[in-house]
Amino acid sequence: MKKPVERGTWGRRAVLGVPFVWLLVFFLIPLLIVAKISISEIRVGVPPYEPLLEFADGAFVGIRATFNNFVLLFEDDLYVSAYFQSLTIAGLSTLMCLLIGYPMALAIARAPESRRGPLLLLVILPFWTSFLIRVYAWMGILKDEGLLNGFLMWTGIISEPLVILNTSVAVYIGIVYSYLPFMVLPLYATLEKQDPSLLEAAADLGARPFRAFLSVTLPLSLPGIVAGSLLVFVPAVGEYVIPDLLGGGDTQMLGKALWDMFALNRDWPSAAALAVAMLAALAVPIALFQRWQSALEPKEGR
């Protein structure tokens, strides 16, 4: 067991040390800096460069911590509503991904074995192509003189173009579209492993297919549902590109608010405070994801 790495302690340390140091320097420390700046004086971060020098010098003298940035955030209706709107949009989009993705994953898992590979490949393929350009394609479909309105008016269902682009409807479509593969993959992984004889047993005992689905398939696929939902929900909360391109003024999401605060207002401490607030909302889902990840471990601890 574990012989290859136990023999040379020096080599063993290097194998561990290199990725560990990278993650500390280029992941953990940056996050700690965000936390630090989120409680520093608001003046400190205005315009980009010099003020942070003051901050670095100030660190030796001792800087006064302030929770003003957070207080200001929570007093500003714009950010409070962006906070709740982000959580709502991400939550509902996750639900829609689940409703569309679950039957897809089930259909692929129940397909003949030779067809599963290509079918799954078709789900993954869009993920490998440019995310930005796929979101952009929706602009052409959803805009007032776009394809969808053209089609609906041609069929006579509507006489005036519907305003879809620059509304939250477009944001929902964009998020569900972009994150659907992240839902299907973990769902498929758990559904594919299920023993078909369980369903046969349920049928033999007189359960109708839908009943068997509810009491056998669905509960057994719970890990896949949790994993897929987290992979959609967490990035969707911080989504920036989709609300920027497809959403209009009435959809304020945290990711966009953060960027505007950072780039337009040049208010770095408040942007950092917003990042901390966003992480706080995501702490529970991220911790769940970590647990799910480490649930894979016992197999490896051989």
């Binding site: 290859p4 790495v5 920027d244």
Partner: protein, 267 residues
Amino acid sequence: MRNRSLFLLSALGFGYAFLYLPIALLVVWSFNGARIVNVWGGFSTKWYAELAHNEAFLNAAWLSLKIAATSASASLVLGTLAAVVLVRYGKFRGRLLFNGLIAAPLVMPEIILGLAMLLLFVALEQLTGWPDGRGFATIAITHTTVGMAYATVVVRSRLSQMDESLEEAALDLGARPLKVFFLITLPVIAPSLASAWLLAFTLSLDDVVATQFVSGPGATTLPIEVFSSVRLGVSPQINALGTIIVTVVAVIIFTAWRLTNAKKANR
């Protein structure tokens, strides 16, 4: 039973239509001579010609490819090391922290990662003078942090399925651990290394949000260039660019899939 599989099949059909309709339209639009999407102005390749002469796009694409190749290679090395640690090291002090750090970039919203990396680079510059401004290095480092997390997942799953008795046999015969790793372990996990590299490469090539924070005025990657032109409105050149990307990706993925399938059939 029959009704149910009909339901599943139509759900599948709907799902694929949803996923592929925008891509298909993009391809059609890219050959549309007219500027407006719902007017057909005849078949034309003029947007491709315009794209081929767009210096800003070409320079950005070249920079993106260089950054993606650099960060994918770094991600592969770091991710493989991390996977070896996670699969083969058993319990050690700091394992929990290590495990958390390697998985967190997978779910960390990019906008937070971008801001955090920028603040790090600014602080580093104040302290050490490096990095002098933002550009290639800062973008590649940021992409590597994300890429290595994905590379670890891919390599880790292959490594944990690997039969260790091969390595043990080589060690028993007196091979040194490093030699065992390069002669036995690496060839066995090679296909997963290729997918890990490709995944990290693609992620880097596609990244907008984190890159926006850590790129400087002199270093514009392709997604940043596309993003700023798309924000101004629909541009037919982007349709042509999208068609090219989709074609290249489809060819690569299909070839990779055929190759791995051919291998499985040979076994």
